[in-house]
Amino acid sequence: MTIRILLAVVLGIAVGFFAFPAFLVPHMGLMINIGLWLLLFFVGIDIGRQKDILEKIKKMGVKVLLVPMMIGVGSIVGTMLMGLIIKMPLKEAGAIGAGFGWYTLSAIELSKHSAELGTLAFVTNVSREVIALVTIPLIAKYIGKVESIAPAGATAMDTTLPIISRATDGTVAIISFITGVALSTMVPILVPLIMSL
């Protein structure tokens, strides 16, 4: 699956770069949305097929929120440590990490500080999404199902949710959705907050 995912993305980039018909460009957003809605519908069906899911989630209770919390902390710490290595201001590195893969919002927010920082936030968070697409099936297989939500970050509720759902099970898909919602809510709060420190 990982190879097919990578091929689809790379092929898409190549077609977009060299040959995508211009008249289709205005419809891209709609095409992505329809594809996404369709996939989320399938994820919903998978969830509905497992009868005891709600019971499981109820038993986990608020502990489920540990997942987005640890992803949030890990993301910010991770970019800060890398920031130290590549010699960029810690605050900026941390703020980029707090984009959690939501590249449009983090880029817009950080371009208020400088165009360069906004671009780096964009590139970093696009990279995160691509890394997530490729590594989720591998992490689910070799490290753990819940761990496979981690690379997804804020996208765990939409673009990467179908991949997580396929690589794991209905319970993890619900944890993933909750994680994505929690992290997405934190992006517009944390990015400016870290920059103001």
Binding site: G12, G16, L40, G44, G48, T135, D158
Partner: protein, 100 residues
């Protein structure tokens, strides 16, 4: 707003999925249909990146920097979740084990 749409779609799917009588005609095809839809979506997402020359230019300039930051945040996220995943799933593993 998007979150609400996603939630409604998931709930609609879950409702249909929970109806046993609908299982046979539709469910056997979901896996194939899902793979196709997923690869198509990823392809279009790729197109969206490729079509924007600005993005491609940015990647050639600061792509390595961005990639390293992303990689490090992914690694530490996974480590973070690894630390607590047993705690989150303990209930599941202890009391309602059979998942699939």
């Amino acid at each position: 707003m998007d979150i609400l749409i996603y939630l409604l779609i998931l709930l609609a799917g879950a409702f249909l999925g929970s109806k046993d009588q609908l299982k046979l005609p539709l469910m056997n095809r979901t896996s194939e249909a899902q793979t196709f839809a997923l690869l198509f979506l990823l392809f279009i997402m790729g197109v969206k990146i490729g079509i924007d020359k600005e993005i491609i230019y940015s990647f050639s300039r600061i792509g390595l920097q961005g990639f390293l930051l992303a990689l490090s945040s992914v690694i530490f996220s996974v480590l973070g979740v690894k630390m607590i995943s047993n705690r989150v799933l303990r209930v599941k593993e202890g009391q309602v084990e059979d998942d699939n």
